[in-house]
């Protein structure tokens, strides 16, 4: 049972480099989310998607881009990495955003350091 799979698990970037964090889910969920979690803090929503072809900004979208060409995949792109983007990134998916049926399943996270 794969659930939500994130790759890579760890990455070190130099300032100004670009990379894509991959996220795929095999549960046929419409909703997918990207969060970042700074040390000792809660999660902040970067972007979310309610279905293939539809994305929207969350709390902290600056410096990131997303796309949702398929139901399964929701990659997160960092174009010009900055030290402020050092964080742990979590991808999640759910069947819906509403009420008791909103069970978000999280990936194991990608730990990113920008030096």
């Amino acid at each position: 049972n794969a659930g939500v799979t994130q790759t890579p698990k760890f990455r070190i970037l130099k300032i100004g480099q670009s990379m894509t964090l991959q996220c795929t889910q095999d549960m046929n969920h419409n909703y997918m989310y990207w969060y970042r979690q700074d040390p000792g803090m809660g999660l902040k929503l970067i972007y979310y998607s309610v279905g293939a072809g539809i994305t929207d900004k969350g709390e902290v979208p600056n410096g990131y881009n997303v796309s949702r060409s398929t139901t399964e995949d929701f990659p997160l792109r960092l174009e010009l990495a900055a030290p402020s983007q050092t964080s742990v990134y979590f991808c999640a998916s759910s069947t819906t955003a509403l009420g008791t049926k909103n069970i978000q399943y999280f990936g194991a996270g990608t730990r990113l350091s920008v030096l």
């Binding site: 939500v4 909703y31 989310y33 969060y35 000792g40 803090m41 809660g42 999660l43 902040k44 929503l45 979310y48 309610v50 929207d56 969350g58 709390e59 979590f90 999640a92 955003a97 509403l98 009420g99 008791t100 909103n102 069970i103 978000q104 999280f106 990936g107 194991a108 996270g109």
Partner: protein, 112 residues
Amino acid sequence: TQLLEQSPQFLSIQEGENLTVYCNSSSVFSSLQWYRQEPGEGPVLLVTVVTGGEVKKLKRLTFQFGDARKDSSLHITAAQPGDTGLYLCAGGPESSASKIIFGSGTRLSIRP
């Protein structure tokens, strides 16, 4: 900006004691969730509350949603070392249920 404030930030208690963690906001939420997160892992959902005044129990954990749907609490009875972890509340504001907001978390440590 809609915020979920959790208190306390840190809590260290002896095994067998009771504790309560709070999650407060000035905004109304359509639903509110509690998660537990272990180091190096993603959060895992414990419960979702939807109706104002709702109380849900999960073994030794009791969750309550405020009547006005602006706050919630998590009460643990007879805490055990296995309860150690980061507890997060999260909610979908009534104005935009898809934009899930997380609290900053309560780091709980239970001493044997």
